[in-house]
């Protein structure tokens, strides 16, 4: 890091490089979001999955090497490659699970994958603690090579999606073999394929070009509505979650606030496990709307308790804030937190599934970026309460000055990192 800098980097230069490396998540995710359907629909779901897994593995090796040789450029390139590859991997994985599982187990399988992802995020966060692997960055990054190698091996062993083989590739024998692999010999593969064919319907005669399909997605009401429903569910996942610790610090001492944050994360994972058991027992619509409403109400309750604690000085109200957070994390984990990432694919017919899903992710990523960018500045500048028009102007000005001066690292601990989408 001393290249051309006899006294090392200035704090400002350091902040810029730090910010660039952290922002790799957006660059890496946005770039492939709209390219992914070209791979998934023309190349296939399985090759895209393998492609993503190889990319993740290469990025791990690149990042470890870059850290060993003190190359921030290498680390940045490795991170962009890693996030891009994970987007390919993530999109292809949802499509394969979606299109290969029996109808009655579809939601359960997708929910399990989301909960496992949350659990793995927890393991990753724990591994970053100094007592475990946090003392050595190359080891911490390099350690991921082991699970990613296993993931690559499993990707290679994963058969292609039966619906893709039948409806897009037109290869019925391969589709039958795929059905037998995923659903066993006890089901009638022919019946499953007959049911799958109904998905084509009138939409099967539609265009096949990328931009023509994009136009159809916007112009047909039911396709447009499916995307808006997916986007609305994903939008609900953007909340006060990224600044949990900061919010709790207003009410509790540092160590206590950090402990509560950790406990809330554990609660979120436990709620996810509970969600695995109830996702097939409760109507999905009721689960999504109920948990989303509970989450919105818990934010309202948080604001009320926050005002009671800080303005009216009611001591018990701080615990009210904690309870509101507990409800928020529970609602998120048990319901819409995981479902949000696959509901779009359940609402779209085969032909438009990949492109529609990627378009929703693309729009959501832009929204998530904007939210993650402004959440902490608006909280630090104006607290949880709404001010007058002058405050609004101040917020807009404040977020712009934040953009110029470099972004606070905590802004990047967005919900995206903790849920479904790749870190």
């Amino acid at each position: 890091m001393l290249r051309g800098h006899p006294h090392g980097l200035t704090p400002s230069e350091n902040t810029w490089i730090w910010s660039l490396i952290l922002n790799a998540v957006w660059l890496g995710n946005l770039l492939p979001a709209m390219v992914c359907p070209l791979f998934c629909d023309r190349w296939g779901r399985r090759p895209t999955l393998i492609f993503g897994s190889v990319g993740v593995l290469v990025s791990n090796l690149l990042e470890s090497t870059a850290v060993l040789f003190h190359s921030p450029e290498g680390l940045f390139i490795g991170r962009v490659l890693g996030f891009s590859s994970q987007m390919f991997n993530f999109s292809a994985m949802i499509l394969i699970i979606m299109e290969s599982t029996p109808t009655e187990l579809r939601g359960l399988c997708l929910f399990i994958s989301g909960t496992v992802y949350t659990g793995l995020m927890g393991i990753g966060t724990a591994a970053g603690m100094h007592a475990l692997l946090g003392w050595s960055l190359p080891l911490l990054i390099g350690f991921a090579v082991i699970p990613n190698s296993i993931a690559l091996l499993l990707s290679i062993l994963t058969p292609e999606s039966p619906k893709f083989l039948l409806l897009i590739r037109g290869d019925k024998p391969a589709a039958l073999a795929s059905i037998r692999f995923y659903q066993g010999g006890s089901v009638s593969a022919e019946e499953v394929l007959d049911e799958a064919r109904k998905e084509e319907g009138k939409d099967g005669d539609g265009p096949t070009g990328y931009f023509s399909m994009l136009r159809e997605l916007v112009s047909h009401r039911h396709l447009r509505r499916a995307m808006l429903l997916g986007l609305a569910t994903l939008q609900m996942t953007l909340g006060i979650w990224p600044i949990t610790t900061q919010l709790l610090l207003a009410h509790f001492p540092d160590a206590q606030a950090e402990l509560y944050s950790l406990l809330l994360f554990c609660e979120n994972f436990a709620a996810g496990l509970l969600g695995v058991f109830i996702v097939q027992r409760l109507p999905r619509r009721r689960l999504i709307i109920g948990s989303a409403l509970l989450s919105a109400l818990s934010i309202c309750a948080y604001i009320a308790f926050d005002r009671m604690a800080l303005v009216w000085r009611m001591p018990f109200a701080s615990y009210g804030c904690l309870a509101a957070f507990a409800v928020y994390y529970f609602a998120f984990g048990v319901g819409f937190g995981s479902i949000a990432y696959y509901i779009t694919s359940e609402l779209l017919p085969q032909r438009y599934r990949s492109l529609g899903q990627s378009s929703v992710f693309f729009m959501f990523l832009i929204s998530a970026f904007a939210f993650s960018f402004i959440t902490l500045p608006i909280y630090e500048a104006y607290d949880v309460w709404v001010g007058g028009i002058r405050d609004w102007i101040g917020v807009i000005g404040g977020s712009k000055s934040c953009e110029v001066s470099g972004v606070h690292p905590l802004l990047h601990h967005t919900r995206l990192h903790l849920r479904g989408l790749p870190l």
Binding site: L228, L229, A232, Q280, I289, E346, D391
Partner: protein, 58 residues
């Protein structure tokens, strides 16, 4: 500041989901898509889901 940034968008999203989201549990994709095509919004529902079947509103 949380009201305009989180609470209002959240309630708008919940209202939209309540109005248009079809049931997806234990249903084939073509059934879900058919319902999406049929639903015209709250108050104009052409069909509703009863259990696993789609039935016309009486």
């Amino acid at each position: 500041m949380f009201i305009p940034f989180f609470i209002i968008p959240d309630f708008i999203c919940v209202a939209y989901l309540y109005s248009y989201l079809p049931e997806t549990r234990n249903r084939e994709i073509h059934e879900i898509v058919e319902e999406l095509k049929a639903v015209r919004g709250r108050g104009e529902l052409k069909k509703r889901v009863c259990g696993d079947r789609i039935q016309p509103v009486k």
